[in-house]
């Protein structure tokens, strides 16, 4: 009977990660530090956003191109003002623990305070995680985006010009 239970446990653990990075990080670290804030924009809110953008509204000065929003499914922003370095390292360790799921977008050097990781599928980025540690303000910011972020999406983001042309 013990062997049966062990087999069942092993089988259940095959597919455990069914969350985005931010959820996993909050589960792990929010217990230890209650000062971590997580702002969530769900897919439902994203759709509402798209609706408001497509509705005629001459007053809005869109900073974010509609294309970018159309490719996003959800967004989560985690901020921490206390123990930011420790939390940054924990975030790095969580990524490292799941290196089968996340890969660095560019080669990360140790000691960098700004790291970008992606989860790709069929050459499209399904999840993007940015870890940013501001040593002057001692704040940690984690941006976790999910969606269908293709090359054009990344090109627009990398260009540094988000204002719509």
């Amino acid at each position: 009977m013990k062997r049966v239970l062990c087999l069942l446990l092993i089988a259940c653990s095959i597919h455990v990660w069914g969350q985005d990075f931010a959820s996993k990080f909050m589960e792990q670290c929010a217990k230890e530090d209650g000062d971590i804030q997580c702002q969530t924009v769900s897919p439902i809110m994203m759709e509402k956003l798209m609706d408001t953008m497509t509705a005629p509204n001459g007053d809005r000065d869109e900073e974010v191109p509609e294309y970018l929003l159309s490719k996003l499914k959800s967004a989560r922003i985690i901020t921490a003002t206390k123990q930011s370095e420790k939390l940054f390292r924990e975030a790095e360790q969580l990524i490292e623990k799941n290196k089968n799921r996340f890969s660095p977008l560019v080669e990360n050097q140790p000691g960098q305070n700004n790291k970008v990781f992606v989860r790709k599928h069929d050459e499209v980025i399904r999840e993007l995680v940015v870890l940013n540690l501001n040593p002057d303000e001692k704040t940690l910011t984690i941006v976790n985006l999910t969606g269908d972020m293709d090359d054009r999406f990344m090109k627009i983001l990398s260009s540094g010009k988000l204002k719509q042309d």
């Binding site: 069942l8 095959i14 702002q39 924009v41 993007l128």
Partner: protein, 171 residues
């Protein structure tokens, strides 16, 4: 009476030279009542053989054997616990559970490519903002940060790639 012949036969008996007829003669002699005293020590040897020959199965032997064979052994009452009774059911349920779990796990790993989008529990997401305008501002800030991070990361990467070329030039 002259027992010389018997004594000769005895000598031959110790040498294992006697025939069956001669041994029968010795047995007959020692089974009679009058035996000389100097030959008495040998009597039990020949008499015991006859005694064992006379041993036969009694008439009640068959009856005793059959009674022993057909004897019903008393059945001891055993208390069967509830757990023991349900054990076959538990085993069957465990087998089915294992098969279903392994099958589900295998199926989900095969379907992983098709259901990457379903990998996130969007149903559990709770919006931090009810106003789309505020959500828009948040996303705008987030994308700005991502953009800056990507630019920084690209610069770092290009610097690293340039370094080997610079060291070669120095050489």
């Amino acid at each position: 009476m002259d027992y010389k012949y018997i004594e000769q036969l005895l000598e031959r008996y110790w040498q294992c030279e006697t025939s069956l007829e001669e041994e029968a003669i010795l047995k007959t002699f020692f089974n009679q009542t009058h035996i000389p005293s100097h030959l008495m020590p040998y009597k039990p040897l020949f008499v015991s053989e006859k005694m064992w020959q006379d041993v036969k199965l009694g008439e009640d032997f068959d009856a005793r054997i059959m009674a022993h064979i057909e004897k019903d052994e008393p059945v001891k009452a055993r208390r069967i616990t509830w757990v023991r009774r349900m054990m076959p059911l538990y085993k069957a349920a465990a087998s089915v559970a294992i098969i279903l779990t392994l099958g589900n796990a295998a199926q989900s790993s095969f379907r992983r490519e098709a259901t990457v989008e379903n990998d996130y529990n969007y149903e559990n997401y709770q919006d931090s903002y009810n106003d789309p305008e505020m959500a828009y501002n948040q996303i705008s800030d987030a994308l700005q940060m991502v953009s800056q991070s990507l630019s920084e990361a690209s610069k770092q990467d290009s610097l690293l790639q340039m370094q080997p070329k610079e060291t070669q030039k120095e050489q």
